[in-house]
């Protein structure tokens, strides 16, 4: 018998669900059962789910209820179900990396993020679909995962974005209240924007990658996708921190009380020059409307120049060199040909012959990029731009053939990733084919509290994050 929680509950924020659990208006078991039911019924329709963890999730939910009834709470995530991108190791479940050669892969340990969330009382209900090996070596269409193209809950003829595809789709469709994704260069911001959810890419070193598939050690980040920016802060507070198993992590504290606008202070916001050039008109209009809202509590400087540095070549060379090292056995053995994306075979083989000096030159260039961006961002609390230049790509066409003429503005995503800076995308409207658009806040390293406060203030003034996609048809219907 399906659980009887209404949509208002299933699409509620984590903070709201936590309050209902604390006051025992709902139980963790009821909540978990309801999301499991949706994951099993709706998940296949969206190709969003790889593994549903029914047994372990219900066991943990029963324990959470028992603890809550006994007056013991581990915090706001206690008893809250969530999903994890299938590149995070979780003991007892397959960890497929979205790729056929790894579909039976298991690990005997939990990724640090999974462990931290378990310690916080959150309940892992599903491993979520992703682009195979996180899109390393390139892909040009949505059918780049062994679980099939992840469909956008707002319009299933369109892609959910990637590489954290299932994480974006599952949150948007109300299959989980929050999910964990990862980003090397765009893989959280893109599905967040395409699916109309809030997605936070933390500063490099804020969150441990231990137990996560590596694509690029110097670029990979783990972060949350949620309904609200406030929820992103709550989840980040649970997963952030130094981890002896990941040398890139630093011991910086991060706490997240409900973000509120500091009294008597207006934010200094910059608009990146050229960020509305070459983008879809609806994306531009939504961005312009968002700026009007932000103008209520921000001093906005228009036309801020983004440094003209070779972000594209550098990020490409770094990902290829590090990815080739990570997947050397897969490439040399020829098993890379088992991937859905046929072109990865040649591209990865080419990466095997990338001269070390070219890789090092790219890494030296990053040092200069970091300095240039640090200098730029020192003058602002955040810079804003559209998260993506178009709405989601159609499932049935190559990306390169869709939306011809909309080439996008400055390279904010590779720039921010190369510099290790945080970014946050929140929904700011809809474009063609009833698909969401995103507003991206970017800031200097470790500025997550400011980005979260800004986005939270924006969401207090708007309703886009409260919109729900149409009820999806069930698998087989």
């Amino acid at each position: 018998m399906p659980p009887t929680l209404d949509d208002e509950t299933l699409f509620a924020s984590v903070r709201t669900l936590a309050e209902r659990l604390r006051t025992r208006r709902i139980t963790s078991v009821a909540l978990t059962e309801a999301y499991l039911d949706r994951l099993e019924r709706i998940g296949p329709r969206l190709n969003a789910v790889v593994t549903v963890l029914r047994e372990s999730a219900l066991r943990e939910a029963r324990a959470a209820d028992l603890a809550i009834r006994g007056g013991t709470s581990r915090g706001l995530l206690h008893g809250i179900p969530y999903g994890a991108k299938d590149l995070l190791a979780a003991r007892g479940a397959p960890t497929t990396w979205g790729a056929a050669p790894f579909r039976r892969q298991t690990f005997d340990h939990d990724a640090t993020v999974i462990r931290k969330l378990r310690d916080a009382g959150a309940i892992l209900v599903a491993k979520l679909a992703m682009v195979e090996i996180a899109g390393g070596f390139g892909y040009d269409n949505a059918d780049a995962s062994f679980s099939g193209p992840a469909r956008n809950p707002w319009n299933t003829d369109y892609w959910a974005g990637g590489s954290s595809s299932g994480s974006g789709a599952a949150v948007a469709a109300g299959l989980v209240p929050f999910a964990i994704g990862s980003e090397t260069s765009g893989s959280i911001i893109t599905p967040a924007a395409y699916c109309g959810v809030s997605g936070l890419r933390p500063t490099y070193g804020r969150v441990s990658r231990h137990g996560a598939m590596a694509l690029s050690w110097t670029l990979d980040k783990i972060g949350p996708l949620c309904r609200t920016a406030d929820d992103c802060g709550l989840v980040l507070a649970a997963i952030a921190g130094r981890d002896p198993h990941d040398a890139s992590t630093v011991a910086r504290s991060f706490t997240h009380p409900e973000a509120a606008r500091p009294a008597g202070r207006r934010y200094r916001l910059g608009v990146i020059r050229g960020c509305t050039r070459g983008i879809q008109p609806a994306v531009r209009d939504n961005f312009t409307a968002a700026l009007k809202v932000l103008g209520e509590f921000c001093d906005i400087t228009e036309d801020v120049a983004y440094p003209e540095l070779p972000f594209g070549p550098v990020v490409s060379l770094v990902i290829q060199a590090e990815g080739a090292s990570t997947f050397r056995e897969l490439i040399e053995s020829g098993r890379i040909r088992e991937l859905r994306t046929r072109s990865m075979a040649a591209a990865s083989s080419a990466a095997m012959a990338l001269p070390a000096v070219d890789y090092l030159q790219a890494q030296r260039e990053r040092a200069r990029m970091k300095r240039a961006l640090e200098q730029l961002y020192a003058r602002y609390d955040a810079l804003v731009c559209p998260a993506r230049s178009t709405v989601a790509y159609p499932i049935d066409r190559n990306f390169s053939a869709a939306y011809a003429g909309f080439r996008g503005g400055p390279p904010i995503i590779p720039g921010g990733n190369l510099a290790g800076q945080p970014a946050l995308s929140v929904p700011n409207g809809f474009g063609p084919n009833r698909l969401p658009t995103g507003l991206q806040f970017t800031g200097k390293a470790w500025s997550e509290p400011r980005l979260l406060a800004l986005a939270h203030a924006y969401q207090r003034a708007t309703e886009w994050h409260r919109r729900r996609p149409p009820a999806p048809r069930e698998a087989g219907s």
Binding site: P244, P313, A346, M352, P411
Partner: protein, 101 residues
């Protein structure tokens, strides 16, 4: 669908960030030099790739060579940057062993 991706389009996407959604395609279009990479360098590196990936067919090798030529052009784009002597790579070696081993 993947196999039908026009090679040139795919390479453009790849250079724009190793995955299409990773980067706006415009980023690289402006930065990538137009002149072809030295053919002998691409050929030599293709031989390296073939020696490491012995499963590569002649058809694969043609694609690999195109990808390598593109990587060389990307690397050439960085030559103009002239980093300072003090610009160390953006990762650091630490002598101490991490606590976790």
């Amino acid at each position: 669908m993947s196999a039908q991706t026009p090679r040139r389009r795919f390479l453009k996407a790849l250079a724009a960030g190793a995955a299409v959604p990773l980067l706006p395609a415009s980023a690289l279009a402006q930065e990538e030099p137009r002149e072809p990479a030295p053919p002998d360098a691409a050929a030599a590196l293709t031989a390296v790739a073939r020696s490491r990936c012995r499963w590569l067919t002649d058809a694969h090798a043609k694609e690999v060579r195109q990808d390598i030529a593109r990587n060389l052009r990307l690397a050439d784009a960085l030559r103009r940057a002239q980093p300072a002597v003090t610009d160390e790579p953006a990762f650091v070696f630490a002598a101490d062993v991490p606590e976790g081993g």
